[in-house]
């Protein structure tokens, strides 16, 4: 590098051509060197650490590993008391469940765009697909013909008894009770799930061959404690700064630290509207970040912080000497 003639001015016009000294510069060379260094770093990091790939949770693995939790979740889906059944838009219209920003609920305003009837989609429709089971067909007919209060009573009694259930060869054995047709329905659903059939039924429930939308099975999985416990073991929960973490000890989306930070502090931590409030807050902060050059007070901050003295230390040393 060689300096050209010229002396750095003390008060330059920021938009004017630089009147001070220049140095030789090869942009293409700089890019090629940077490319080689970055590619080499990525290869070395890959050789040293590879990348994480924890296998996904399937409904089959859940039903086999924790049949009690699977049945508890499925029963709340049948009874429409689960997290998804009472979620509100976009899945259903449960009153009072949508999050608000002050008096405004954008969630409510968007409406029900991905309708999910948990009893039908997660229990009754998959059970209807099981062929040649006269007992199950009769149980389904009995359940569907019963008044809704009786349906709720059967499912409620079954859910209450589940903690006392034993499983013999994958079959649930519960203490005697007034479960009506819910007991054979749930035993059949557990069998379907343990065979892997429920995974397929929920993905291809609309009888298409190709499918890329996993909304229904993922929402079903997310209602179970098994799924959450696995996430907790991988430090992925919201209370564990989960969104920015990755399974194992790998760096995840570290750049989401500020978004995740708000979930750890009040007033967001305990707020029922935390998601909406944090989303809007981050939207405002992002807009402010983009508009820094136009915000009085913020745009002049770097001048007062004087970190630039370190960045351009050679320049200042030269003009001050």
């Amino acid at each position: 590098m060689s300096s050209a003639a010229g002396t750095a001015p003390a008060t330059p016009d920021d938009a004017a051509p630089w009147p001070g000294p220049f140095v030789r510069y090869d942009l293409i060379k700089e890019l090629v060197v940077a490319l080689v260094v970055m590619a080499a770093l990525a290869v070395v990091l890959t050789i040293l650490f590879s990348s994480p790939d924890d296998s996904p949770t399937t409904i089959q693995s859940w039903a086999k590993a924790d049949p009690g939790d699977f049945l508890t979740t499925a029963t709340t889906e049948l009874n429409r008391t689960s997290e998804i059944a009472t979620y509100g838009p976009p899945y259903n219209s449960t009153s009072g469940s949508a999050q608000k920003i002050g008096p405004i609920s954008l969630q409510e305003a968007a409406g029900v765009k991905i309708p999910i009837d948990t009893a039908q989609n997660y229990v009754i429709e998959p059970l209807r697909e099981i062929p040649a089971d006269a007992g199950l067909k009769a149980a389904l007919a009995t359940y569907q013909a019963a008044p809704s209060k009786l349906q709720e009573a059967w499912a409620g009694a079954y859910e209450e008894a589940l903690p006392k259930a034993r499983f013999l060869g994958g079959v649930p054995i519960l203490p005697a009770g007034r479960y009506g047709p819910v007991a054979p329905m749930m035993a059949a659903l557990l069998g379907l799930a343990q065979s892997g059939g429920l995974d397929g039924a929920l993905v291809a429930g609309n009888h298409r061959f190709y499918e890329t939308n996993y909304t229904k099975p993922l929402l079903f999985l997310s209602g179970g404690e098994y799924f959450e416990e696995r996430a907790e073991g991988q430090h992925l929960l919201g209370t564990q700064w989960g969104m920015m973490n990755e399974t194992g000890s790998y760096p995840g989306q570290v750049w989401l630290w500020l978004y995740t930070f708000w979930y750890q502090v009040e007033p967001f931590k305990e707020s029922p509207n935390a998601d909406a409030l944090i989303f809007v807050l981050m939207g405002i902060l992002s807009l402010a970040f983009v508009c820094i050059p136009f915000i009085p007070g913020v745009r002049t901050l770097p001048r007062h912080l004087r970190v630039y003295r370190g960045i351009w230390r050679d320049h200042y040393r030269e003009i001050e000497s």
């Binding site: 003390a10 008060t11 330059p12 016009d13 920021d14 938009a15 004017a16 630089w18 001070g20 220049f22 140095v23 030789r24 510069y25 940077a34 490319l35 260094v37 970055m38 990525a42 890959t46 590879s50 990348s51 994480p52 790939d53 296998s55 996904p56 976009p90 969630q107 305003a109 968007a110 890329t212 939308n213 909304t215 993922l218 799924f227 696995r230 991988q234 992925l236 989960g242 990755e246 399974t247 989306q253 570290v254 750049w255 998601d275 909406a276 989303f279 809007v280 992002s286 983009v290 050059p293 136009f294 745009r299 002049t300 770097p302 001048r303 630039y308 351009w312 050679d314 320049h315 030269e318």
Partner: protein, 215 residues
């Protein structure tokens, strides 16, 4: 002809000596300037490794060791990309790099950062492993809470994969290209004055340093 007008405007705004200069102001000799080009270099590695993964399909990296290797390169290049970009952004903030009508340069850089976060987020959703399942089940709540979860459905793998391999990378690359052209057009921001101008001797308006990013 409008095509002539476009050509003349393009060459007028970015003549070859501005687009690919062979000299830079001496103050550019600082390590902080490396991180801008390092960000672009990491982006090239991200896109190249992503194209190989995309060519072989989303299942390939789960079932072959060579696929896993390229997924590793993709992951680590993304981490390097964000590291370099964040250092670059902080550097530009401390330089007040929007001065002298360079506001659009900052804005395109900041928007690139935000869009890149979306590109990375959809990448994590497209992994088809437990991490992507969990991120989808958590991420849906934020998006649903403001009414956009059904339009940008994070539990719909097909939609997220399309965003990740086509739409958002195109947006990031286009924004980076725009950003670089703006840098080339307006040049790198000069250092702050060594001493603040004395109020007793006001500078003429055209010589006063501009803190605003407005052109």
């Amino acid at each position: 002809m409008w095509t002539t007008w476009v050509r003349e405007r393009a060459v007028g705004a970015l003549p070859p000596e501005k687009l690919l200069p062979d000299r830079q102001p001496a103050y550019v000799s600082s390590w902080i300037y490396v991180f801008g080009v390092a960000t672009i270099a990491a982006l090239v590695v991200v896109v190249a490794s992503g194209m190989i993964l995309g060519l072989k399909g989303p299942e390939w990296w789960h079932v072959t060791s060579i696929g896993r290797f390229f997924n590793g390169i993709h992951l680590w290049a993304v981490e390097l990309f964000f590291f370099a970009m964040v250092v670059h952004l902080w550097g530009k903030f401390f330089m007040g790099a929007w001065r002298g009508g360079r506001g659009r340069t900052w804005v395109t850089g900041a928007v690139t950062f935000l869009v890149a976060i979306g590109a990375a987020f959809t990448g994590y959703l497209s992994q088809q492993n437990f991490d992507s399942q969990w991120i989808a089940s958590e991420g849906k709540d934020g998006l649903n809470s403001v009414g956009i979860g059904s339009f940008f459905n994070v539990v719909d793998f097909g939609q997220m994969y399309t965003f990740h391999v086509i739409l958002l990378p195109l947006a990031v690359v286009a924004l980076v290209a725009w950003h670089v052209l703006l840098v080339r057009r307006h040049g790198v921001v000069p250092p702050y004055p060594a001493k603040a101008p004395k109020s007793a001797a006001p500078s003429p308006p055209q010589a006063a340093p501009s803190e605003s990013g407005a052109p």
